[in-house]
Point group: C2
Chain length 362, copies 2
Amino acid sequence: MARIDAWGSKAVTVDARLIKQFGLSTFTDAQKKPFDNRFFTRGLVIAHRDFARIAKAIKEKKPFLQMTGIATSGPLHLGHKVDIDLFEYFRSLGAKSHFGVCDIDGYVSRPDNKVPSLEKAQDYAVQTVQHLLALGVPEECIYVQSKKEPRYYTFAFELSKKITENTFKAIYGHLDLGKLSANLLQYADILHGQLPEYDGPMPSLTSIGIEQDPHARAARDLVRRLPYNMVLPSFLFFKHQSGLKEGSKMSASEPDTAIFLTDSEKDVRRKIDRAFSGGRTSVEEHRRLGGDPDVDRAFEILLFHHPDDAFVADVKERYASGDMLTGELKTIVKEFLVDMLKEHQKRMEKYRKTAERIVHGA
Amino acid sequence: MARIDAWGSKAVTVDARLIKQFGLSTFTDAQKKPFDNRFFTRGLVIAHRDFARIAKAIKEKKPFLQMTGIATSGPLHLGHKVDIDLFEYFRSLGAKSHFGVCDIDGYVSRPDNKVPSLEKAQDYAVQTVQHLLALGVPEECIYVQSKKEPRYYTFAFELSKKITENTFKAIYGHLDLGKLSANLLQYADILHGQLPEYDGPMPSLTSIGIEQDPHARAARDLVRRLPYNMVLPSFLFFKHQSGLKEGSKMSASEPDTAIFLTDSEKDVRRKIDRAFSGGRTSVEEHRRLGGDPDVDRAFEILLFHHPDDAFVADVKERYASGDMLTGELKTIVKEFLVDMLKEHQKRMEKYRKTAERIVHGA
């Protein structure tokens, strides 16, 4: 009997197509081995550009940077928690870590009906900082885009000289000027840590969703044109968590597709009850054929967020074998989420004042 | 016999065509009357947008802003001195005055072979600040673009959301991303003084060359789209000083077309000797027909820069009547310039340290 690969997936994904199309590197088992973290052990990190440089720095205890950010254009959901958890993991491995709370980006890259003012983006920024602090990111690793020192902004403007209209159109297929500004800031976010006024040239890691690779390529292209002798930044691409409904993505604009970090217990229970399931149409069929964890949105939440590898593998096996019913799986997920979010929201509340100070000043 | 208009010009100028094409307002004598300054008395200020608002504020001693700037992409010449002199004039009339030393603009809007780095633009910025201080602009009225507070930069990025690719192309006919950034900063320079974090909404004056009107229109268009209740900024358009050679403009890239504020006595004498003249081919012809001050580049320097209206009117009349020969005119201009620049350069030198501090920090 073939051994079950606890972390394998039968689904032929969009990810596989994008990895090929973008020319990204995938991981060998040997490359993943030193990284004892669910993102690696469960195959949630699926591709990279130049990750070897980072692995080497970690192994040799050499300095390296970690530059990550979130545009503040809405409340954070579980998908955002992936960015933050990955950030915390590489920080624990010694990265000089900078997390950008991108309020200007959040405002300029979103339509007015979504983010009508910079002020609104800054309200979201306060919440985002609360989440970061509650998830363990130290204050000194957090910066707010609209509160940076002048060198950061002048650098963003410098970058505009090094990227042409054609490059931009080739990468993004459009030329919306607000988005262009947001992109200049994103490149600045990824690269400014290597300026002489900051930490200077060194390996640098940014973890992003795979569909963000055009930004990665643009940032690497800029490094080749800039006079600062920067090291080409490395990128890690993580799998996206699906939306709770069939065929959906987690999206702040459709609240029932996502679990938000601020959701109430009632919301969580309702959303999980309604989430798309890999269970069968009848108990008999389920017992006979087993559930399909690869498409089950409740199981996916455990896969991305539950800390215990053995527990998650056990649930997967029992669900796939028909031993565990959909209702039982959903109960496990609901209890896990309700506990985690209650704890998180309690911590968040304690950081409100600090977050307001960080975003709005003393 | 017809009375000679001391300040009239026979030349049908590009200016007249642009005033019509851009739909600018021209001044009536009554409008100019309160402004006892060579720019008004000699017709050097040729058009405006909404200047009445400023005239009213001055008359009623109400607060108004003056926002002006120079991109630091080379050494300053006499043409730049016009900006600064006009700035000082309106400052003397009570404007809350802010002069931008635009180093980011100087770098991003010029090709690399002209300004290869932000550092180079900052070298020019030091010189520019020295000129400003030497011409009487107080330190507190000067700001350096790369040393502004975050609100200024976030505002420039905000503006990118309010201007569309089509507006931009319609106004400028092109879409160079470096120039786009420079333009966002220019709009921020013109408008940021009216933000609530600065002086708030009030009439605001910016003096520019007439070919810069597309920027004026874009800035006014942005005010209509922004949520800050700003007053539409007023613009004053001044005549451009010609280059020293026939058909040329004063240009830093062709040194012999311009008198630079740092030129040596020897340079000044050589350039004026070679400057395009309105004199006749022989002394006899000159005595008979008179010189043409309207095309004479040496005379134009007196017109733009000599402080004494009566003296300049007298020279014009004597030159036009044939009483004064080209050589005599050029001698007057050379002595005037050499004295003025020697004095200016001596003052400049005293401000070197201060200028370095302003541009590079303590």
